[in-house]
Symmetry: C3
Subunit: 403 residues, 3 copies
């Protein structure tokens, strides 16, 4: 044959079509079985994976910022800072939000133990524990400081190097700051889906137009689900807790903002959903609730050349709000769609495998089906030669021989 | 047949090969169609999924730490702390970075409203709102404190329990701290991809050798893209904002560090990319910009046994920088590769399905093709028996009967 | 044919079964090859993807909160605050944890440089750099403040507007706070897997019953792997660092908590794993270790109507602990399982492709196999007509013609 012809031959061969030979079995039973299995698989792939589980979408997690601004004042009537100061005392934001700003969290003081005007010195520790100096090993640490080695006979407690006087750390019974539940907090949450280039904020653009609504509204899951101003009492109630109980010893509350955005729908439908939950264990046996200590330091010039460093120690109980912003955006994308589709098509193969097993092994007419499905080819190296009578060119199936 | 033979038989059967019978159709039209469809699918899988979308890589998100150190001083010439203090006042890092350290963020004060030496007491609130005591319901909260129930006739505003004197909260016109744009910040960002065990930092090892570069360089997207020292003015400019405008009322700026690492390439190519964007809404109607209040507390010993607690209230406007470290590392991994490949192979099946539909339903010669592709087998339970003339052993196709 | 019949016909056709015709090749060689390839693929899919890589599980990342409480006191014996104060000085939590609370981190001071009682004024800067006023350009910034334009002849350094006296910023040799390594920190970590609705805490419920264990235990990777109280010295040791070295200039330490939860197993087996690593670069050339400055402000009433604002500047070196909570939960889910299975089934197709290539191209008997596998159909539009002798109805293969 001429070379040219060969090429045309090869080229022709490339442009020919290979399709599997199909055995078409006209059996109602098998047919129904086949379609049922197929149907189940298709229902799973299309209905569940693609549609229900949004298998056609590429998803991305949210990136977000939250800033908060607490508002409110309370008037207390307890003497905390010594008798000289007026017992009426007002607490404003600068007093009860400590530290003034945090990243992704904020703290509202609800209860305090104040120890004013401490200075370094030697004084008796709180708990009586000694009768003689020997009971107070020098330099041994104690809750309030480091023991000086002497026993204070009047109080019956060891003397300690410490900030004197030492803190009276009694368990609080009632919250000192009474009325914090009425405080409001303005939340600003900006999110972005970098890959999709979508930016959203929890303060809807519609609010920008009427600032009066923002100024007056309070979040309510039913009536005002998009108002960014929250009353502390509401937050605690929605978290399923009792404010007056929490206010005494403090708590850690999760402030959850969820954004579940289907970007195949109008982007305006991508809205925040707020929820709240208590995070610390209400039944903790150790360090229950939430509190921490901080101090304000200054130096007194007692005389011309005598200065004393002093501090006011505050043990603050309160509610620590921690922000969690979750949320995913989904958008149609070829890769997940076709990957799921491809895997699905492959699963369709299971239908044939399943039915073949049925007709070839479980059916009474298995031999008949085998004869028709299989086309026997014997190769010379087969060691079963003695068992078979057929020639390598024999076209007729002969499985029956092996039964 | 002997048992031994049976086993050898079964064993032999297991070690035989099943391959689908293929109908090879020598038609140029169909052949070309077939290859085109195949080509498209292969191009999609190999070109798009595997190569372009890196379908052969396992990806992992970055874990990171960022620490920052701001440097710079400004000299202000306004009297903020009462006339007794020198009007020249220097602000250094300890003064304008509040709180001194944050996790994943830092704040630089650009503007302040200072209310020095407040003390608890009763004084008129800022806004005139009363002519007689009846206008000031006792204990009703106000912006500055809690109303005492009397009206201050001189100021025409209600008396409040508050930190006195109350803050003069006028809208700022110019930033008090003039020159903050020249401040520099040193950023240290350490990242880790735990699964891949890769650690990188934004201060390249090459810099370690010449500390002079680090000491002198300033980040520039073009000339110094890897210098970890940033001038605030540059950051704001690159965020597309106007510093002098922002300095007045503050802003929240996202400091984005991106690590996009292909670990199949040399790890040294895994480098940070910086970008900046304003996060708060420049057009906010409520609480525009960024500010917060904090106070410094101390106690004055006015006489032997008379102490007064005082505070200096600061309303700080400024720029809050929040760090976002994104980034993924990708590395070749069998699972994603073969999963995508397998799903791809399955999609190739679409080519046959597509062409079969073409030749079996759309082609003029459909019957001819059907005769050749299908091999008819009639089962006794078929209820179509009366329509067909062939016997269950009949080998020759007979689709034509059904047309 | 009647319409009714046609419908029944069509209906019947739908409920018939199509299964590919299989060429069964009884060749031991090919059979073994075939099964080997199949086995490899199945081993990969089932063994590696499904079982080893848990391809049957849907995974979710952890959401977590960490709160910490540091305990301990140290007694220092250096004069930091001027001679008037007692040299024995106690540091408690409120003194050395700055800021008092952070989100996801905490800082423990180990070393300080204190500059007490600074006030705004003009004083010589630290480093001698001038001999005449001309060397001190007015308003040029310096490390300590802004130059006033005059040279202080006694110190030979420029006068600056600054907080006076300026900080003596010598490199620290020994840590001032000696004994911080004995401090303990109580960690509370609450995690949640929202999708799975699973909540866990690092303080095991079993501990709730005996609070004495919590009060006394210290974390130890071997003996007390679940005790939530950590000794700082242990943390640093486990991070592979030397505490006394770190205490001088500070460091940033990653406090890693890992939760690797297989929710197909009892949820009680989902337990935290702690590990620690140094994050900052021990060999940094610039700003080595970790330190920052903060100040305490107050106002002195020096006379009836003369007040001076003062501050105490603290440069704090210390260990910054940053929490990383990683962890995934996996739970059986149909979608990943079937997606991996489907992709796997498709890969099985590779076995046939592989063996077909072997027998059709690499085998000596390739023609024999081609004859049996392929079933030749010639279409009239084929341009190879002249090369073939067979008729379109010819059933017998004729590949040999093309060799």
């Amino acid at each position: 044959m001429a070379w040219g012809t060969k090429v045309r031959g090869g080229l022709g061969r490339f442009f020919e079509y290979d399709t599997p030979k199909i055995v078409h079995i006209r059996s109602l039973r098998v047919g129904i079985l086949y379609r049922l299995v197929q149907l189940t698989i298709i229902a799973y792939i299309v209905g569940y994976v693609i549609v229900w589980k949004k298998g056609y979408q590429l998803t991305e997690n949210v990136e977000s910022t939250v800033t908060s601004k607490v508002k409110g004042v309370v008037l207390t009537n307890v003497s905390l800072f010594g008798e000289d100061n007026p017992t009426e005392r007002v607490w404003d934001t600068a007093d009860y939000v400590v530290p003034p700003q945090e990243n992704g969290a904020f703290f509202v003081t609800t209860n305090v133990i104040v120890t004013p005007n401490q200075q370094q010195g030697i004084c008796p520790e709180l708990l009586p524990s000694c009768s003689k100096d020997a009971d107070c090993p020098r330099l041994s640490p104690s809750a309030n400081g480091v023991r000086s080695g002497t026993c204070n006979t009047t109080t019956g407690s060891c003397n300690v190097y410490a900030w004197c006087p030492v803190e009276r750390d009694q368990e609080p019974a009632l919250p000192v700051l009474n009325g914090t539940e009425a405080f409001t907090v303005l939340i600003k949450n900006q999110i972005i889906f970098p890959k999709f280039g979508i930016r959203r904020r929890n303060i809807l653009d519609s609010f920008q137009t009427n600032s009066t609504y923002l100024a007056s509204c309070h979040y309510d899951p039913v009536n005002d689900p998009y108002c960014p101003v929250f009353v502390l009492a509401d937050i605690i109630r929605l978290a399923g807790e009792n404010y007056s109980a929490i206010a005494v010893k403090g708590a850690v509350i999760g402030f959850v903002i969820e954004w579940d955005c289907n970007l195949d729908l109008p982007v305006n439908w991508c809205l925040p959903k707020y929820s709240f939950r208590r995070i610390d264990n209400a039944n903790d046996v150790s360090a229950k609730g939430w509190n921490f200590r901080y101090a304000n330091y200054w130096t007194d010039t007692e005389s011309q050349n005598h200065t004393v460093q002093r501090r006011t120690l505050v043990k603050a109980y309160g509610i620590r709000f921690i922000f969690y912003v979750y949320g995913v955006a989904g958008k149609f994308n070829m890769v997940p769609f076709f990957t799921n589709l491809g895997a699905g098509l492959a699963l369709l193969g299971l239908a044939v495998i399943f039915c073949d097993i049925a007709i070839l092994y479980c059916s009474k007419k298995r031999n008949f089906y085998k004869e028709n499905k299989y086309y026997e080819v014997k190769d010379d190296d087969a060691f079963l030669i003695e068992e078979s009578q057929q020639s390598s060119t024999n076209r007729s199936p002969s499985y029956s021989d092996f039964q």
